[in-house]
Amino acid sequence: MQTVVYDSSFEGFFTAVFEIYEYKIKDPDIQQQGAAHVSLFGGRHTVHTDIAKATRVIKKLEAKLSADAFADIYRVLLSEQPGMENVLFRYIQYALQAAQSVETDYSHPDVLWIRQVVRKMGREKHRMEAFIRFLKTKDGLFYATVEPDFNVLPLIRKHFEDRYADQRWLIYDTRRKYGLYYDLHSVTEVTIDFAATLNDKASLRTLHDEQEDLYQSLWRTYFGSTNIQARRNMKLHIQHMPRRYWKYLTEKLPG
């Protein structure tokens, strides 16, 4: 077994795929730089991201897979699942050698695994689109903090860009310490460390728009009174809104 180490970028992964073929690496174990899991035995091959090499793999795959299936590879790489690179590599091998497109061969364990991870990602993306709650500041910025299970910010970017085109907004992932910022023209990734600011709730509050508290409280009022007590079903409520999201949900926080 040989460990193949890459820089965790999308292009880096495809460079790794290229080099495994190029150097005929047998039984590769693809790992991200800095990952703890590096085999003691066998060799180690370090990949230097090479756009030309990556592009050749991407071109080849685009010819073999549908656009959706190709995008799925990207989604899996954002999932941060251990071992995802190795599954993807086997899948790519399978796709390249097959005469027809293999993306719907659900009897193949790797195809099915990818399908399932993509579904999980899709669910988390959808939850973020649903559960993000913006707060308005005095200077008209709408900001939200999130802590998604997977790295889904790149996947929700377009949704928020299309929808909130006439307001400045910031969505910040507190776990991965980066955010998306929209300045009325375009969305950029920002990596400022907001942790200290965000933890100081009292001073944060002074930054808020004067009507922010009013609308939060109106939303809580609405959430309470639109509930039908005779139909109460907490199990279903929690199934749809898992507890781990509550800390960001205005309606679940005390006023």
Partner: protein, 416 residues
């Protein structure tokens, strides 16, 4: 001032919540010229403690009403607090909730004050303001008020994504009993008018791309279930009529929640008919997505859906001669009719079998309910189960499963 707004919101959302529709899908409104919002697939932004989705700000403009319909919490003889929003208040609430990503849009209904036109005019005004003054492209669902003028209906369709009239009672006899001031035909008339306008609009769109789109998410309606003695047969044939003849996008079934002491209605404290409501929705799905005909689901011989098992399983047990179905060969349309296999699984099966013959273990991994499906299928590996009688299969499935409704049918006497 904020207290007054909060009180209005409490009263007018409380009064609106028995309308179960909260869908915000089916439209394709884009965000134009960097305005605010869009409407496409619909997102549930929250779920209330009763487990229902909150997608829209669902409120009444006012709960003052000139009618006295027995089933309605806002009927004029009911001694409750009354309130009315101004047009601007509704606009502000919608905009501010939407900007914070609380909602997909607005669902505005109203009690009838003065007359139909006066009420409808105000509903339309809210939508118009949102669309034209605030460049709001989120979802708008408006109630069409029976008896309002054609011009107002047309204008409502221009600004709204969806329009709806609730027929409330599945038959005109029930309506006459519980809502003596209302007339069945008065409700069907605006539905038919809008249907015609929408069809015409689609023709126009083909000719002139620039023609404005009217209510892209179509129409819906709601029937109250369990307040009156209709059978499931009557209810489902009514839905069938709405889907086929008026091209409604959705029919909602609202299990009656007792809201008043009226001897024409189930008493206060009567449980909400959850199971029946659920079975009706399942039957509705079979009609809309699984290509079932209504007469395959209910018949004059069996006018009620089986409460213990879902209508698809019921159908399969009545039609055992069609089974077992060969998973590796059968047509997609037949595969989707197998109990335990949903639309997505059916599609996956048809895709996957092109690569290799599928066995039970594949089906399990793909995610079908094998415990249910196994009585109705043959695969590449599993032996064909012997011929069971419908009642036996039903017993097996009921005993294996842990249906959330099981306690309702337990033969064991519950003392506490």
């Amino acid at each position: 001032m904020s207290e007054r707004i909060s009180e209005k919101l409490t009263i007018l959302s409380d009064a609106a919540k028995y309308d179960v529709s909260c869908a915000s899908s089916g439209s394709d409104r884009k965000n134009e010229n960097k305005g605010l919002g869009n409407a496409s697939n619909g997102i549930c932004h929250a779920y209330t403690e009763d487990g229902r989705c909150v997608s829209l700000l669902k409120i009444l403009l006012t709960n003052f009403c000139i009618y006295d319909c027995a089933y309605c919490i806002s009927r004029k003889s009911n001694d409750i607090k009354r309130a009315a929003f101004t047009v601007q208040e509704v606009v502000d609430l919608t905009m501010n909730f939407y900007r914070r990503n609380y909602i997909e849009g607005l669902f505005l209904s109203s009690g009838i004050f003065k007359n139909a036109d006066y009420t409808m005019e105000r509903l339309v005004l809210v939508a118009k303001k949102l669309r034209t003054e605030h460049q709001f492209n989120g979802y708008i669902h408006l109630k069409t008020i029976p008896g309002a003028s054609d011009e107002l209906m047309q204008e409502a369709a221009l600004y709204a994504d969806r329009l709806s009239v609730n027929v409330e009672m599945p038959t005109k006899e029930s309506l006459r009993l519980l809502a003596p001031d209302k007339n069945r035909n008065d409700m069907l008339k605006p539905m038919r008018y809008i249907d015609k306008a929408l069809t015409q609009n689609q023709e126009e769109k083909k000719l002139f791309k620039k023609a404005p789109t009217l209510a892209p998410a179509g129409q819906s309606t709601q029937m109250v279930i369990g307040a009156t003695p209709e059978t499931d047969l009557q209810i489902l044939y009514m839905s069938h009529f709405f889907y086929q003849k008026i091209h409604l996008k959705r029919v909602y079934y609202s299990g009656y929640v007792p809201v008043s002491n009226d001897n024409r209605l189930p008493a206060m404290g009567t449980p909400v008919p959850f199971i029946r409501e659920n079975r009706l929705y399942q039957a509705d799905w079979l009609m809309r997505f699984y290509h079932f005909r209504v007469d395959e689901i209910v018949s004059p011989q069996e006018p009620l859906l089986d409460a213990q098992i879902d209508p698809k399983l019921s159908w399969a047990l009545r039609n055992l001669q069609l089974f077992p179905v060969d998973i590796n060969k059968a047509d997609y349309m037949l595969i989707m009719r197998i109990p335990g296999i949903g639309l997505q699984s059916a599609r996956k099966i048809c895709e996957a079998r092109k690569f290799s013959r599928l066995g039970m273990h594949h089906l399990q991994k793909i995610g079908i309910a094998v415990n249910r499906a196994k009585y109705f299928i043959t695969t590449s590996d599993a032996p064909v189960l012997k011929d069971y009688q419908p009642m036996q299969i039903k017993e097996f499935i009921l005993n294996e499963g842990s249906s959330k409704y099981k306690p309702n049918f337990s033969p064991q006497l519950k003392l506490f």
